[in-house]
C-alpha cells in the first residue's frame, strides 16, 4: 500500500491512459487514405464556422471546403486571400493551401513563388517534396487515382457479364468461372481493342445488355459488343471552342438505345446509339457535371455536379426549368434511381449518401463514412443501398430507414473502394478485390 500511495500519480495517469489506449487501438478507425490533392477539410469545420462565423479561421475552413469538396478553386482563393491578407497566421497549413490553389489555378509563377515564400515563412516544414510548385506541377482537380483503381463497374442483370475499367484506357470483362463458387473470384480478360486515348471515366450497358458504352476524359464514346468483345463504333468528342469535354457520367435510357452523357463543361447530351447520332444537347450547369441517371420510365433525367446540386429534368417538357435538390456539400459522384422512380439515391465527396424522396424533395442523409463516397448501388429487391468510400469502408444501409446494416472492408488489408454493385440476388456484393480483380462477397 505504501508503494501504491507513493506512485499514485503514475498509477492514475497511466491507468486512465491505458483505457484510452485500448479505445484508440481497438475501436478507433485509422485516418482515411488521403491522396495528394484529395485531402479532406477538417470534419469539425462546420462546428467551428458556426462558432466563429466572422473569424478569419472560418474563412479558411470555408476555403478548405470549397477546395476539397467542390473543387471551387476561385472561391477558395478569394476566401484564403481575404483571411491571410488580413494578417491571419493561426494555422500554417492555410498558407500552403493558398499556394496550392494558386498553383492549381495556374497563376503566374511570380505570384506562386510569393505564396510559397509566405508558406515557408509561416510553416515549419523543410520537406522540398511538399513544395506546391513540385507537388502540384501538372495536377488538375479531380486528382487522378492510382492506375489500378477500379472506378467504373457495371454488371448485367443476371450477373453473368461484368465490365470494368481501371484508371487506364482499357476495358476489362469479368465472367463467372470455376473460382466463383469456391472463393468468389471472377475470371477476367482485357478487351483486345483500344478505343480511348485517355482514361475511361464512365461505363453503361446498353442494347438489352448486349453492348457496353464507355466514355473517356477525352470526351469520346465507344460502343462495344459484349458477345464478340469487339468495338462497334466510336463517337467523337463534342465540344464548343474553348470548352472542356471530359465526360464524367453516362446513363442509358430504358429502351437501351439512348444514353445521356454529362461533361466538364456542364453539358448534357443525349445520344441515339443505333445510328449513332446526337439527339439533343443542353447546358445543365455552369460548373462541371459529374453524375447522371435516367428514371426507369425514361421521362426524367437527374444530373449532379461539382456544386453539389442535383437537378431533375423533365424530358417531356423542354421548357420546364429543372427541379433542384440541394443538400450535398461536395461533388455528386453517382446517382441511381429506385425501380419505382420515386426515389433517387446519391453519393458525394462530402462523405455522405442521400436518399431523396422526389415527391417531397426531402432527403435522408446516410452519415458514417469518413471520406468521400464514390460507389453506390441499390439492391434489386429494393431493400438495401450500398456505398463505397475512400475511407476503406463499404456500408450497406436499409433503404427504408437509412439504418446501417453492415460495415465491410476488403481483406486482408482494407483499401479505398470507388465502385461497388449488388449481386443480382441482392445477397452479395461485387467489388474490386482478390487476385483477379473482381470479387463476389457475401456479407
Amino acid at each position: 500500500m505504501h508503494y501504491l500511495y507513493r506512485y499514485r500519480l503514475l498509477i492514475v495517469i497511466y491507468g486512465l491512459a491505458m483505457i484510452v489506449a485500448c479505445y484508440e487501438s481497438g475501436y478507433l478507425e485509422r485516418p482515411a487514405a488521403t491522396i495528394a490533392g484529395l485531402a479532406q477539410p477538417s470534419p469539425a469545420s462546420d462546428v467551428l464556422i458556426g462558432l466563429y462565423p466572422e473569424s478569419p479561421m472560418a474563412k479558411c475552413f470555408r476555403a478548405d471546403q470549397a477546395m476539397f469538396l467542390t473543387y471551387d478553386l476561385p472561391l477558395a482563393k478569394r476566401l484564403l486571400s481575404e483571411a491571410l491578407t488580413g494578417g491571419y497566421k493561426g494555422e500554417e497549413s492555410y498558407f500552403y493551401n493558398y499556394a496550392t490553389v494558386l498553383m492549381l489555378l495556374k497563376e503566374d509563377y511570380l505570384v506562386v513563388d510569393e505564396a510559397v515564400a509566405d508558406w515557408r515563412r509561416h510553416d515549419l516544414t523543410t520537406d522540398d517534396q511538399l513544395d506546391p510548385r513540385a507537388a502540384y506541377r501538372d495536377l488538375e482537380l479531380p486528382a487522378p487515382l492510382d492506375p489500378m483503381t477500379i472506378r467504373c463497374l457495371v454488371s448485367s442483370s443476371d450477373g453473368t457479364k461484368i465490365v470494368f475499367a481501371r484508371q487506364d484506357n482499357r476495358l476489362w470483362l469479368a465472367e463467372p468461372g470455376p473460382q466463383l463458387e469456391k472463393n468468389g473470384l471472377y475470371g477476367v480478360r482485357q478487351l483486345p481493342e483500344r478505343a480511348h486515348q485517355n482514361m475511361i471515366s464512365a461505363l453503361v450497358l446498353a442494347a438489352n445488355e448486349t453492348q457496353v458504352v464507355s466514355a473517356s476524359l477525352d470526351g469520346d464514346l465507344a460502343i462495344w459488343d459484349l458477345a464478340t468483345a469487339g468495338l462497334v463504333a466510336r463517337l467523337p468528342a463534342q465540344r464548343a471552342p474553348g470548352q472542356r469535354s471530359e465526360i464524367y457520367g453516362i446513363a442509358v435510357f430504358p429502351d437501351g438505345f439512348q444514353c445521356a452523357v454529362v461533361d466538364r463543361a456542364g453539358m448534357v447530351r443525349i445520344w441515339d446509339l443505333r445510328k449513332p447520332v446526337l439527339l439533343r444537347e443542353f447546358q445543365g450547369a455552369t460548373r462541371p457535371l459529374s453524375a447522371v441517371a435516367v428514371s426507369p420510365d425514361g421521362t426524367r433525367l437527374a444530373t449532379g455536379g461539382w456544386s453539389g446540386i442535383i437537378k431533375i429534368w423533365d424530358l417531356n417538357n423542354e421548357q420546364a426549368p429543372p427541379r433542384s435538390l440541394e443538400g450535398h456539400r461536395g461533388v455528386v459522384n453517382r446517382l441511381v434511381f429506385a425501380s419505382d422512380g420515386k426515389v433517387l439515391a446519391s453519393c458525394s465527396r462530402d462523405s455522405t449518401a442521400r436518399i431523396w424522396n422526389l415527391q417531397s424533395g426531402k432527403s435522408r442523409v446516410l452519415k458514417g463514412h469518413g471520406a468521400p463516397v464514390y460507389g453506390l448501388d441499390l439492391s434489386s429487391d429494393g431493400n438495401s443501398i450500398v456505398t463505397a468510400s475512400e475511407d476503406r469502408r463499404v456500408k450497406i444501409w436499409s433503404f427504408q430507414d437509412g439504418k446501417l446494416l453492415y460495415n465491410l472492408a476488403t481483406r486482408p488489408t482494407p483499401r479505398p473502394l470507388y465502385a461497388v454493385l449488388f449481386a443480382p440476388d441482392s445477397r452479395g456484393l461485387i467489388w474490386a478485390g482478390g487476385p483477379s480483380g473482381i470479387q463476389l462477397i457475401r456479407p
Binding site: S42, L51, G90, S93, R121, H122
Partner: protein, 369 residues
C-alpha cells in the same frame, strides 16, 4: 488587510513573476509579426528544454533530493520512457493526449505553487486558502481551454479525430456552462477572501498580482491569436523562465544553508551545483543550461529547423506514427521513436518529478524558499 511577502525580493518579483508575463505576450506578438515559424518554435524550445534541465539539476544533481527520492527518480523515468515508447509505437493519439493534458496540469500546479510560496512567505491565507486557490486555478485555466477560440478549435478538432462528433449547439452549451461555473466560483472565492479578512488573515497583494499577470498572459494570448505557436511562446517564456529562476534561488539558498551547517560533509555530487549557484556565477548557471540545450539539439541528430519542426508540428507526429506499428522498424521509424522519447518522455519525467519535489508544506522544501 494586506501583508506583503516576496518569493525573491520586491524588484525581482516585479520583474520575473509579475512583469514577465506582460513582456512574454509582447514578445510573442512581435514574434508572430516578424519572425518565421521555425524561429518562433525554436524560441519556445530553447526556453523549454533548459527548464527541464533545471529539474534534472535539482533532483539528480542535488544530493539532498537524490537521497530522499532515489527510488522514484529511478522507477519514474523507466515507467515514463516505457509508456512513451509503447505509445509512439501503438497508440500515438493517447500519448499525445497524456502529454498535452499533463502539460496543462503541470502549468496549473506551477502557478499554484508560486501562489503557495507567496502565502508561505507573507504568512497570509487561512488553512483553506490553498484549496480555494487550487480550485481557482483549475476553474480559470480550464475555462480558458474550454471557451477560448484558440483552444476550442483544438479540442473540437480533437474530439472529431476521436470520432466524437459534437454539434454546434452542444459546444455553445459547454461554453455557457463553463462561463457560468467560472463566474460562480469567482463569487465563492471572493467570499472566501472576505471570510479570511474577517478572521484577521491578511492578503498578499503580490500573490494576486502574480495570479492576475499569469491569467492575463493565458487569456489574452488564447483570445487574441489563433496560433498555438504564439500562445506557446508566451506560455513557455513565462513558465520556463519563472521555473529556472525559482530553481536557481532554491538551490542557492539550500547551498547557503548547507554551507553554514555541513561544509565538510558536502557530497561531491553537490559540488557542481554549489559552483553553479554561487554568487556571481549565474552566468555559468545559464551557460550550462544553454550547453544542455545545444547537446539536446545535437542528440536529436537534426539541424535547428528540423528539430523545431519535428517537435512542434503536430501533424508530423500524427501522420507517420499510426503506420509505425504496421511498417516495422526502419530508419525513419527509429528516428521518430527516438525523437518521441527524447521530447515527450523527458517532458513527462519533468512533470512527474515536479509533482513531488516542490511541496511547499514540506519543511525541507521550505528551507530553500
Amino acid at each position: 488587510m494586506f501583508q506583503t511577502g516576496y518569493i525573491l525580493n520586491r524588484r525581482s518579483d516585479l520583474t520575473w513573476f509579475i512583469g514577465l508575463p506582460f513582456a512574454a505576450v509582447l514578445f510573442a506578438l512581435a514574434s508572430q509579426q516578424w519572425l518565421p515559424a521555425v524561429v518562433m518554435s525554436s524560441v519556445a524550445l530553447w526556453i523549454t528544454i533548459p527548464h527541464h534541465f533545471a529539474t534534472w539539476i535539482r533532483t539528480y544533481g542535488f544530493s539532498e533530493d537524490w537521497k530522499r527520492w532515489t527510488d522514484r527518480l529511478i522507477i519514474g523515468p523507466l515507467v515514463i520512457f516505457g509508456f512513451t515508447f509503447l505509445g509512439a509505437m501503438s497508440f500515438p493519439l493517447t500519448l499525445y493526449l497524456v502529454s498535452t493534458l499533463w502539460d496543462h496540469q503541470h502549468s496549473i500546479m506551477q502557478q499554484h505553487g508560486f501562489g503557495r510560496i507567496y502565502d508561505f512567505k507573507a504568512g497570509t491565507g487561512t488553512r483553506k486558502t490553498a484549496r480555494f486557490d487550487l480550485g481557482l486555478h483549475w476553474i480559470l485555466f480550464v475555462n480558458m481551454l474550454v471557451t477560448s477560440p484558440l483552444f476550442s478549435s483544438l479540442w473540437i478538432s480533437e474530439l472529431y479525430r476521436w470520432e466524437i462528433q459534437v454539434s454546434l449547439a452542444s459546444v455553445q452549451m459547454i461554453h455557457t456552462i463553463s462561463w457560468t461555473l467560472t463566474g460562480s466560483y469567482l463569487v465563492i472565492y471572493l467570499l472566501h477572501l472576505g471570510s479570511s479578512l474577517r478572521q484577521g488573515r491578511p492578503l498578499n497583494p503580490f500573490k494576486y498580482a502574480f495570479i492576475g499577470a499569469s491569467y492575463f498572459l493565458w487569456y489574452y494570448s488564447a483570445w487574441h491569436t489563433a496560433s498555438v505557436l504564439v500562445w506557446g511562446i508566451a506560455h513557455r517564456l513565462m513558465h520556463g523562465v519563472q521555473y529556472i529562476v525559482i530553481v536557481y534561488w532554491y538551490l542557492r539558498r539550500k547551498v547557503d544553508q548547507q554551507g553554514e551547517a555541513q561544509v565538510e560533509a558536502t557530497p561531491r555530487k553537490s559540488n557542481l551545483v554549489r559552483f553553479m549557484v554561487r554568487s556571481g556565477n549565474v552566468k555559468f548557471f545559464l551557460l550550462i543550461f544553454l550547453i544542455y540545450a545545444a547537446l539536446y539539439q545535437l542528440a536529436i541528430l537534426q539541424p535547428l529547423e528540423v528539430f523545431g519542426f519535428g517537435v512542434v508540428r503536430w501533424s508530423e507526429i500524427y501522420r507517420p506514427i499510426p503506420e509505425l506499428g504496421v511498417a516495422g522498424l526502419n530508419p525513419t521509424l527509429g528516428y521518430h521513436l527516438y525523437t518521441e522519447l527524447m521530447i515527450t518522455a523527458f517532458a513527462l519525467t519533468h512533470y512527474y518529478f515536479d509533482s513531488f519535489i516542490w511541496k511547499v508544506r514540506d519543511s525541507q522544501v521550505q528551507g530553500g524558499l
